[in-house]
Symmetry: C2
Subunit: 421 residues, 2 copies
Amino acid sequence: MTAVSAPSATTTSFDLGPARALSCRECGHETPLAPEYACLECFGPLEVAYDFGRVRREDIEAGPRSIWRYKSLLPVPSTVESHPNTSPGGTRLVEADRLAKALGLRKVWVKDDTGNPTHSFKDRVVGVALAAARELGFKVLACPSTGNLANAVAAAAARAGWRSVVLVPSSLERAKILMTAVYDGNLITVDGNYDDVNRLAQELAAEHEDWAFVNVNVRPYYAEGSKTLGFEVAEQLGWRLPDQIVVPIASGSQLTKVDKAFRELGELDLVEQTPYRVFGAQATGCSPVSAAFKAGHDVVSPVRPDTIARSLAIGAPADGPYVLDAVRRTGGAIEDVTDEEVVEGIRLLARTEGIFAETAGGVTVATAKKLVEQGKLDPDGETVLLITGDGLKTLDALGDRVGPRANVPPSAEAVLNALQD
Amino acid sequence: MTAVSAPSATTTSFDLGPARALSCRECGHETPLAPEYACLECFGPLEVAYDFGRVRREDIEAGPRSIWRYKSLLPVPSTVESHPNTSPGGTRLVEADRLAKALGLRKVWVKDDTGNPTHSFKDRVVGVALAAARELGFKVLACPSTGNLANAVAAAAARAGWRSVVLVPSSLERAKILMTAVYDGNLITVDGNYDDVNRLAQELAAEHEDWAFVNVNVRPYYAEGSKTLGFEVAEQLGWRLPDQIVVPIASGSQLTKVDKAFRELGELDLVEQTPYRVFGAQATGCSPVSAAFKAGHDVVSPVRPDTIARSLAIGAPADGPYVLDAVRRTGGAIEDVTDEEVVEGIRLLARTEGIFAETAGGVTVATAKKLVEQGKLDPDGETVLLITGDGLKTLDALGDRVGPRANVPPSAEAVLNALQD
C-alpha cells in the first residue's frame, strides 16, 4: 500500500514490482515511474522499462491460475493478488486439429480468451491497469470504449469497490450497454462517435488527477497486460514459442506486446530463443496498418472505419508503426479481410472447434486462411491464433446467415423429414 | 476405443473408468453398464455405481485444468482427454467479501461457472455425456433444451466432429438460437413448449439407437458431470468442504450430484468428513420443490412454470424427491424468490463482485439473502454460492431496470454535471 493520496510525478516510491522506469519509445528518454503516458521531451509514447531479477519457471508454475502468476514480469506490486480483482487469464489453449485441417495447416492452437471474466482479453489489461492505478494513487477507474473495455472496466471496478466512469457512444448496441450498466458504475452514453468519446476522455483525464483512464493516462501500465497472452501461450506449449502467431490489430498494442512477451521470455531463458513470426489481421473496412504494410510504409495513414468488426475499428491506431516494426522484424505479414469473410471466419471456428468468437476472432481466422492461401503462413509451421473476444457480444454481425435448419410442428416424423432435406 | 457399432445392453465391455454398473435409485436393482436410463424392474431412474480404487489428491492435482482431472471419479474412459472435447471446468472460485458483507455472512465464495466454454455448467455434463456416449457406441449427440444445454451440445459436437440434433421451442430467444446454430449442427425449432420438445426427444431416442440424447437416454452418465462442481469447490478450498452451499434447482440433478460429490470425497478420504448443509434455490414462479419442502412432503407436485428464470423452469423436476432427501439429510432448506428479487440478485452480484450471472444466478443470490434473513443460513458458516450461467444469455430479464446513468452531448462539462446529479 502507498501513502500517496494523489498521483505525483515527482515520487519514485511506487512498488510496481520489476518496473524500473518509463521509457520513451521514440527518443529513449527515461522518466521515473509515474502516472504519465507521453514523453516530456518529444511527446512520444512511454513504455514500462524493467529490471527483471532472476525469474524461474518453477516460481511461475507455483503461482495462481491467473495473470498474476506472471507478476514478476508485470508493472504491479508483489502483493497484487491480495487486492480484490477479477483474476483474469488462465484461459484455454485449444489444440485445433479440425480447424488446422480446414485451413491447410499442420498444427494450429487457438488461444481462447472468451473464458475471461467478462469474456474478452480486456480483463487482462484492465487487471494490470487497476493494480498499477491503485499503487499510483488513483481513486476512480475510467475509460472511453466501444464495448469490451467498458465491460471489463465496470466489472473490475465493481469487484474492487472502486468508483468507475465509463464513456461510450450512445449508438452502442443494447447488449454492451446492459453488460456495462449492470455493474452499477457510472456509465455515460455520449452523443457522438468513438473519436468524440476518446477526446472527452483525454480532456477529463487532464482535469481529474485521481481518475485513471486505463487506456489514456495509465496506458503504459495497461498495455503490459497484453503480454500475458504471450506468456500463457508459451507456458501452455510447454515453455516454448510457436513458429507463427496471428494477432488481430485494433490500436496494435496487443500485437506489439505479444512480441515483447516472446522476446522477454527468451531473454530471461524461460524459453529457447527460437525464431517466430508475428502476423497481423485487420478488417478491410478498417485496415490502415495492413495498407501501410503492403505499401512498404513506416507510418500509418488514418482511415474512417466501416466494418462489422467494431472492436477493431480504430482508424488511427496508436501503435501502428510499432506493429509494422514487429511484423517486419520477425518476417511476418499483415492482411485484411472483408466483412463477409469475417462472418465466414466466425462460422469456420465455431463449426470446427466449438468456439464462438466475436467479429475480431472472425478477422483472425479469415486472415489466417488468406495468409495460407497466399503462401505467407508456412503450412508446416506450428501456428497460434488469438481469439480475443466472445460471439455473444456481436450477435448482430451474424445477420441472417446463421439460423435453425428448420422449424417444424411437434412430431417425430416432421423432425426426421427436416433432417433429410 | 470400442468395436461396438451400435449400443447394446448385453455387453459389459465398456471402458467407463471406475463405473461398475447402473443401479436403480428406487429399488437398488443393478444392471451392467449400458445405454439405459430406466430400471427394467421398477422403471426408477438409474444412477452410476462405482468401484473406486485408491484415488489420491496428488494424482488429481497432476491432472489437466479441466473436469478431466477428476476422471478417476467419473464414468469416462481413462483416455478421455485424448478425444477432442471442450475441456470444461477449472472455473474460478471467487472469494466474495463484498457480497458477503451485503448478505450479512462472514465468508462467501462464488463458484463462477460462466467461465466455461459456452458459459454455463452444462459444458460439464455434456463433456461427460459425450465421453460416455462415444464409448457406448452412439454416433449422434442430441438434446431437447431451452438454451444453455443447446449451446453446450452444439459446441461439444462441433469440436468432436460429431453430428448433432438439437430441439428447442420455436419461441426461444434469438441469442440462444444463434449461439446454437452457429456451430452448424442440426438445430430444429419446434412449434410447441418445452414439454412438447421433451416428449419428442423421448420418442426419437427410442427410435434411433445411435442418437445420444444427453439428458434422456444418456442421463445417468450426463448427470455425473455435475459432481465436478462439488469436486472443484472442495479442491479450490484446499481440499475441504464448505459449511453451507446454495444450489439452484431445475430438474434437481445438480443439487443431488454436488451432495454426492461431497460424500464421495469424504468416503475416499480426499477431504475430512465435516458436516455440510445443502440449500436449494428456486424462482417462485416455478417452485415445486420449495413448495414440497415447506409442506413437509416427500413427493413433488408438478406446476406450470411462469418465471423469468427460464433455465430453471422445469415444472416436473425429475430429481425433486432426491433433492428433498439431500437437503433434509444435511440440515439445509429450500426457498424461492420472486422475479423482482431475481433481478435484484443479479444486480447485487454484479455490483459487489463484478460477476454477471444469468437469471438462475439471480435466483441463487436472492435465495441466499432470504435464507440469511430467515436465520436458515448460519451467518458464521462458510458459504458457497453456485453461479451456473451467464448474464449475456438472459439480457432481456434486466428489462428497464438497468441502463446508463445519463446520456449527454460530447462535452466534459456535461459529463461532470451528469455525475453530480
